[in-house]
Symmetry: C2
Subunit: 243 residues, 2 copies
C-alpha cells in the first residue's frame, strides 16, 4: 500500500474514533508532514482522498476542518455499494433464490449496453433476494462470457461480486446507473408481493471493470417501501443528473 493511502486511512480512523472532532481543525499540512515523516505533497495526496470522500473541508488561509456529516459519510463509505450481500453483511440474513439461469446470445439493447457483438454469449440470471425472509429485490443481470467465466447457478445463489473480485481476481471500476419509478409488473406481483398501485423503484446499471470492459448490465426492482438510493455528490465529480 502506498504511503499516502496509509496516511489517508490513518486520518480516516482518527475522524471515525473522534480523535479529530467534527468541525474542528486538523493539524496543518506541515505538522502532518512532520508527524508522518514525509513531504507536504504526500500529505496533500492523502487529504485529497478525504476531500473526495467529503470527510474534510479545506480552506485556503484558514485551514482544514472535519466536515459536518463526517460520521454519516463514514457509515455510507463503510458499506459501499458492492452488491446486496455485502450491504447487509452481519446485520441481516440475506438469502437468494435463482429463478432463471441460462446462457444465450444478447439482444441489440444488451449488445449496446455491454459493448459486445451479437455473437458473444451472455449469462442471463434472474434472482430474488430476500432480507430476513422478506422479499427485498428482484434482480435481472446480463453478463458477457467474454469477461465473466465459469459462473454457476450455485455461485449466483451467493454473491456474484465476491466471485468476480476474489475468485476471478478482477477489479471493479465505474458504473452508470439510472434510477426510475415504475408500476408493478407480473413478476413484481408474483415475487415481490406487490399489489396493484404499489410502486416499484428500479435501478438499471452498467458496471465496468477497472480496465474499462463492461461486465454487467442489470435491472434491479425494489418494493417502494423497502427501496431507496442514497447519492453523495461533490463539486469535484458532480456525477448525478435528473432527466
Amino acid at each position: 500500500m502506498s504511503q499516502y493511502k496509509e496516511i489517508a486511512t490513518t486520518l480516516k480512523n482518527r475522524i471515525k474514533t473522534g480523535d479529530y472532532e467534527t468541525g474542528q481543525h486538523l493539524p496543518s499540512q506541515k505538522e502532518l508532514a512532520d508527524e508522518f515523516g514525509t513531504s507536504r505533497v504526500t500529505i496533500q495526496k492523502a487529504l485529497d482522498e478525504l476531500s473526495n470522500a467529503n470527510l474534510i473541508l479545506r480552506r485556503q488561509g484558514s485551514g482544514t476542518t472535519v466536515a459536518p456529516n463526517s460520521q454519516s459519510t463514514l457509515d455510507i463509505l463503510s458499506s459501499q455499494y458492492e452488491g446486496t450481500t455485502k450491504l447487509f453483511e452481519g446485520r441481516n440474513k440475506v438469502t437468494t433464490q435463482v429463478l432463471n439461469f441460462e446462457i444465450r446470445l444478447p439482444n441489440p439493447h444488451e449488445q449496446k449496453r455491454l459493448a459486445i457483438s451479437s455473437s458473444t454469449p451472455v449469462y442471463d440470471v434472474l434472482r430474488l433476494r430476500n432480507v430476513d425472509k422478506e422479499p427485498y429485490e428482484l434482480d435481472h443481470s446480463i453478463m458477457p462470457l467474454s469477461v465473466i467465466q465459469n459462473l454457476t447457478e450455485e455461485i449466483a445463489s451467493g454473491s456474484i461480486y465476491k466471485f468476480i473480485e476474489s475468485t476471478l481476481n478482477l477489479k471493479i471500476g465505474s458504473s452508470i446507473r439510472k434510477i426510475t419509478a415504475d408500476t408493478p409488473q407480473k413478476n413484481d406481483q408474483k415475487y415481490l408481493k406487490c399489489n396493484h398501485g404499489e410502486p416499484i423503484l428500479q435501478v438499471s446499471q452498467t458496471v465496468h471493470l477497472s480496465d474499462g470492459r463492461a461486465f454487467e448490465y442489470s435491472q434491479t426492482r425494489h418494493r417502494y417501501d423497502k427501496g431507496g438510493v442514497i447519492v453523495i455528490n461533490n463539486s469535484l465529480s458532480s456525477n448525478s443528473l435528473d432527466v
Copy 2:
C-alpha cells in the same frame, strides 16, 4: 485559472472534438509535459481531473486511453445538476409557478437536516416546474435565512441556484440525496396530474456550500414517466448506496 485545470480543459476538449478518439491512447505523460512545457506532476494532476470524471483509463505499464462512453459522460458533465433551469436551458421552455412562499421557524426534522437551531427562520417555498407547458416536478425547498438572504417570490419563479451563485456569490459544494418511489398524494394529483396508481419518483436532498454550511433541504417529486436520476460512480469516490 491554475495551469493543471487549463490543461485538463484542453484535454477534455480534445476528447469532445474527437481529437483523441474513444479507446485510443493519449500521448504519454512525458510527451504531454513537453507539449505544455510543464512538469510531469502537473500533467498528472490534469489527468486526475479527467480520471475523476471517468473520461480516461490509466493503466500502469500500458498507458492512458480514452474511456468507453466518454462522449455520453461529456453530455452528462455539460449539464451537471445545478437545478432544473440549467438542465433544460436552450432546449426546452421551463416555467415555474410559486405555489407557496413564506418565512417561518423550522420543525425538528428540518433543524436536523440543515444543522440549525429552532430559532433560525427558514424560507419555505413550494414550486411547480413545467417543461414545455407540461407539469414536470413539484419542488418543496427549505432554506435558512442565516445563509440565504433577500430571496423573493420573483426570484423563486426563476432559478434559485443562479441567484445563489451569481447574486449572493456563494459557491455550491456537496449534496446528499435519497431517491425513493412513492404513491401519489393529494398535491401530486392536483399539480402533477397523477392518477391513482401512477407512481412518484421522489428526490430528498440536503445541499451544502463549499464552506460546509447546509443551505437547502428539499423534496422534489416527479411523475414516473418524466423522472429518473442518472448516477455515475467511480471507485475513487464510490458515492451511491442502496438502502
